[in-house]
């Protein structure tokens, strides 16, 4: 039976490589690296698909710094600032993580525990920020309409600045639509979300206010700005409206291409899930550190391994940040 027992002749468990260290790396660390390679390829697959789609719709893709313009508790437009803050948080938590690893090399238990705690807090702030970002994106900020040929029309004022539906639409909605929910209809079905304004109301407000113009998704490739239609052309496009869009979901969004929001939810969601699981790993290791597990084991290599995963999450964010918000 000797052969079936997972203990090598040196009394070391064979699942850990039996003490063999190819390339001078332990089994666990090497496998973490190879996992990271495969995970990196998964993320590249998503980002490359995003790139393909973006090139496919290069003349109508939403302009990122017109989409992500908000920061919590403050009114106004601050493109990029909040995601930059999120990037800092993640880089900083990477720093505290690597400081924990460094303290682990010197067997300083207390320092490792504190740095792990800071890393966990940084991770929680990041996930919280991402939740806020999603919430803002889903709620939307301006509102738009969708035409029968599937184009999104947004509204701008004289200066070409986008304005919200609530900034120019007047009057109460005339059709008195109410969203059907389980409470006011059949308990087993619920209806479409009802927008704040009706289509007729938006069109009549547009016609009544000469300062409003319609902006279409199409980008002028010379100036890299969305094209603004003349009043007459705008009215003609508006006549084709079939839906008022406020915010974003997987089927329609006020920012433009449907697939833009799909990629946003999928890629940042997948990354956020990685951050979330990273926090869970970090918490487990944090308690192990406090309980003295690694002190007894004689080394803090486990901190190094979760550290690799945590840095990888940061690494992916660097690319998501570039390709979603900057480029």
């Amino acid at each position: 039976m000797e052969a079936n027992i997972a203990v090598s002749s040196e009394k070391k468990p064979t699942w850990g490589g039996g003490g063999a260290k190819p390339f001078g790396a332990s089994y666990g660390k090497m496998m973490m690296w190879f996992f990271i390679v495969s995970d990196a390829l998964t993320f590249s697959g998503f980002l490359a698909a995003y790139g393909l789609t973006r090139f496919k719709f290069i003349d109508s893709w939403p302009i990122a710094d017109e989409v992500f313009t908000h920061i919590p508790f403050v009114h106004g437009e601050f493109p990029m600032i909040y995601v930059a803050f999120m990037t800092f948080i993640l880089i900083f938590s990477s720093v505290t993580m690597v400081l924990a690893v460094d303290a682990g090399h010197h067997m300083k238990k207390k320092k490792v525990a504190w740095y792990m705690l800071f890393t966990i807090i940084g991770g929680i702030i990041f996930v919280g920020s991402q939740a806020w970002e999603w919430n803002t994106f889903i709620k939307g900020s301006y509102g738009a309409v969708k035409t029968t040929d599937g184009k999104i029309l947004q509204f701008v004022n004289n200066d070409g600045k986008q304005i919200a539906l609530s900034d120019f639409v007047v009057g109460e909605r005339g059709d008195h639509l109410v969203q059907q929910t389980k409470k006011n209809g059949l308990w087993f079905e619920s209806g479409e979300t009802v927008s704040q304004y009706s289509i007729a109301q938006i069109i009549s407000s547009y016609e009544a206010n000469p300062d409003i113009q319609v902006r279409i998704e199409k980008i002028d490739l010379e100036t890299k700005k969305k094209i603004i239609l003349s009043r007459e052309k705008g009215a003609a496009e508006l006549a084709k409206t079939k839906l008022v869009v406020e915010g974003a979901n997987l089927e329609v969004n006020e920012y433009g291409n449907t697939i833009f929001a799909d990629f946003f939810f999928f890629i940042t969601g997948f990354h956020g899930f990685h951050v979330f699981s990273g926090i869970i790993f970090n918490i487990i290791i944090f308690f192990n550190v406090i309980l003295g597990t690694y002190e007894r084991r004689g080394h803090y290599e486990m901190v190094e391994k979760v550290g690799l995963y945590w840095h990888f999450v940061d690494l992916v964010w660097v690319f998501v940040f570039t390709f979603f918000y900057l480029v």
Partner: protein, 113 residues
């Protein structure tokens, strides 16, 4: 491990400073978008985008080499990880972006604005 007893604390903070600086530069360019860079074109995209991509790769290098301590690994272990990933990613991205451009040139003329 040979590197186990030396402390890298100072180096870590220096790299953090560099990464932060790169992020600030990226965000500044992202907000102001100077026309000379933004409205140019080089190999399929603007110079501004190339700048972002290069700065991103610099950040990725900093994170992998210092924070993940890739510089301390054995040469061929490092290559097994980095070369594999970099080769496959370049291959995939090149093909997909070329296809994306093809889709645009084929489908865009059919869209009525």
């Amino acid at each position: 491990m040979a590197h186990a007893h030396e402390s890298n604390v100072k180096r870590i903070w220096v790299v953090f400073g560099i990464l932060s600086l790169i992020t600030i530069v990226e965000v500044a360019f992202g907000i102001y978008k100077p026309d000379s860079l933004h409205l140019s074109n080089f190999l399929g995209t603007s110079w501004l985008n190339w700048l972002f991509i290069i700065l991103t790769l610099a950040k990725a290098y900093g994170i992998t080499w210092t924070f993940m301590h890739m510089e301390g690994e054995k040469t061929w272990f490092r290559r097994a990880v980095v070369w594999t990933a970099v080769f496959l990613i370049i291959y995939l991205v090149t093909l997909l972006l070329i296809e994306g451009d093809y889709l645009y040139s084929t489908l865009a003329p059919l869209v009525r604005w």
